[in-house]
């Protein structure tokens, strides 16, 4: 269970990215974050793995507060799937997947890249699970297609058997069919292990299809929280309505909003 206990976060430059976010995500739930650009979805996800620190409130994972003292321990239980895959492009696919295991191996093994047989076997099993072929093992990660890279990213994320999977727009740069496959993969792999998923998305249909629960965010606040069926057009319109002047994408989107209502 992940608890956001009245989390507020203000960046050093004064941007209020999160404003009093209170949420409980029970174990095993697939929770989708929706909201316009700049709503604070990425920031919220980053408070869970400690890459962003709340200025007020706290995040608890199974009752343990995320803090610099507990970060090292908690982070092992939290895996992240990234929008831009965040692989080492020049490293082999095998190396990238095995790097998901780094916190759990000795320094000597880590530096030599000499992983235990059971770990190597696990990497292979996960790569097969995400739908890659044995020939991909030695290929450089940067040479794979986006969809394949995200599959490698997912395999890496599951190397440490995480209890929580954070996915920040994991399919933003993939075509619709592959996006669907990738999200199924994340959902199913998480389900097999009873892991909780928090996933930010920009595609309403995908959110509706995969979510157990949808959390709508806008300007750092939670403005919708409920089952996918409960999210109707009025909610969607309110969620994505043109932001007041501070919208960081500038004016071009202004014209697009009336169309959304139609």
């Amino acid at each position: 269970m992940i608890e956001f206990d009245h989390v507020s976060l203000r960046y050093a430059d004064g941007t209020q990215a999160l404003h009093d976010v209170a949420l409980r995500v029970p174990r095993g739930q697939f929770c989708v974050l929706l909201g316009p650009s700049g709503a604070g979805k990425s920031t919220l996800l980053r408070t869970v793995n400690g890459l962003a620190k709340p200025t007020q409130g706290s995040v608890r994972i199974d009752g343990i507060v995320m803090s610099p003292a507990t970060a090292a321990k908690l982070r092992r239980r939290v895996a992240t799937v990234h929008q831009h895959f965040n692989l080492s492009p020049r490293m082999s696919v095998a190396g990238n997947v095995l790097s998901g295991l780094l916190p759990a191996v000795s320094t000597t093994r880590a530096l030599l890249g000499w992983f235990e047989p059971r770990h190597r076997a696990k990497a292979c099993a996960l790569l097969e699970r995400v739908g890659l072929e044995p020939v991909h093992l030695r290929r450089r990660a940067g040479e794979l297609s986006g969809g394949q890279q995200q599959r490698v990213g997912i395999a890496r994320a599951f190397m440490l058997d995480p209890e929580v999977v954070l996915a920040d727009e994991p399919v933003a740069s993939l075509d619709p069919r592959i996006a669907h496959d990738i999200l199924s993969l994340i959902r199913d792999a998480a389900r097999e292990r009873g892991a909780t998923v928090i996933c930010s998305l920009h595609q309403l249909e995908l959110a509706r299809h995969f979510a157990d629960r949808i959390v709508g965010m806008r300007a750092g606040k939670v403005v919708f929280d409920g089952a996918p069926d409960a999210l109707d057009n009025a909610h969607v319109q309110a969620l994505y309505e043109a932001a007041p002047a501070s919208g960081h994408d500038g004016s071009p989107q202004l014209g697009a909003v009336p169309a959304l209502a139609a």
Partner: protein, 346 residues
């Protein structure tokens, strides 16, 4: 949520003569012109101070002499004299047997032979007060390719100095770079200290450092290796560290997010990215060290440079010619080699 296409709007043209809120200035103005003029004035002044005007005049004279327009040119004369004394380059090695007391005549070196030269000398006979011709015989030990072998051996030593200098610099700069990378340094004091060390190493030219090491370690390759290694460690430390700082943060963030720790993040998130650049820098240093190793030899730090200095000081320009040819060949081969290696590794 079907979106309705907005009616296409034509791009508006402003009425002639109206002032626009937007304006795009031409790229140059009077200020740029003034700056260029000032720079030109400074260049003229310093150019005179470093005798660029005299250089032009002397060079023009030399060219005029060579194409037959002038009779005299100091520069042309100097160049011709050196060129003449450098040709032909020394190939053989010839030593008077009288100066080799240890020589075993029955067991000569494999490539050597003995040669006797006769010279007719006119000498005044003090009794008859007449000029008499006497035949002087001198025996030489001749090795027909001897000097080429000597130069090759010295060249090998130079290459070895360059190799070990490069090795030393890599070993020194790797930990320095880790401490001097702002995002990975374990402590701010370590960062400042290592940046200081790197600047210090870089600021000391090899030749001057070699001079001091020759005083400390004596003539020979030790001084060369240390001088090259320390200077290059400064260079590599700076560039290695900057590559770590500028590396793409995405893979690093992925590892940080799972709590991999700094060292492992550096190893898996940064090293694979920067490795091609590291190899390129190191090859450049190897290339540079070969050239610098010949130079530091001039102050006695071993290798071909030491040989060059010796011959130069004894005005044996034919030997100098052989050495210069050898350096040229080696640098040329090295260029080819490192270009090929780079193409393969990157």
């Amino acid at each position: 949520m079907a979106s309705q296409a907005a009616p296409a709007k034509p791009i508006p043209t402003p009425p002639a003569g109206s002032r626009l809120a937007w304006q795009l200035d031409p790229p140059f103005g009077t200020r740029h012109l003034l700056v260029v003029l000032a720079a030109l004035a400074v260049l003229l002044w310093t150019g005179h101070r470093v005798e660029m005007d005299r250089m032009v005049v002397l060079s023009a004279q030399a060219i005029a002499k060579w194409i037959g327009l002038a009779d005299e040119s100091q520069v042309a004369h100097g160049i011709e004299r050196v060129a003449k004394s450098m040709w032909p380059p020394a190939i053989e090695e010839k030593v008077e047997v009288a100066r080799l007391p240890e020589l075993d005549r029955n067991n000569l070196p494999w490539d050597a032979r003995l040669e006797t030269q006769q010279r007719i000398e006119k000498r005044m006979n003090l009794q008859t007060l007449q000029l008499e011709e006497t035949v002087e015989r001198t025996e030489y030990l001749v090795r027909p390719w001897g000097y080429v072998f000597t130069v090759a051996l010295k060249m090998l030593e130079t290459l070895e100095i360059a190799l070990w200098g490069t090795l030393l610099s890599v070993l020194l700069s790797a930990p320095l770079a880790y401490l001097a990378a702002r995002n990975y340094t374990p402590h701010r004091a370590a960062y400042l200290l290592s940046r200081g060390v790197i600047s210090l190493l870089r600021s000391a030219p090899e030749l001057i450092v070699a001079l001091f090491f020759v005083l400390a370690y004596g003539f020979g390759p030790i001084a060369g290796v240390l001088a090259l290694g320390l200077h290059a460690a400064g260079f590599l430390g700076k560039f290695y560290a900057e590559d770590i700082e500028n590396a793409d943060t995405k893979p690093q963030e992925a590892l940080e997010a799972i709590g991999a720790g700094k060292l492992r993040t550096l190893w898996y998130g940064v090293m694979p990215q920067v490795m091609p650049q590291y190899i390129a820098y190191t090859l450049y240093i190897l290339d540079r060290n070969v050239r610098m190793a010949t130079v530091v030899g001039l102050v006695g730090a071993g290798g071909i440079g030491q040989e060059l200095k010796g011959r130069f000081d004894m005005f044996q320009y034919d030997h100098v010619a052989t050495i210069l040819a050898a350096i040229f060949v080696v640098v040329f081969l090295l260029d080819q080699f490192s270009a090929r290696l780079r193409a393969r590794l990157l």
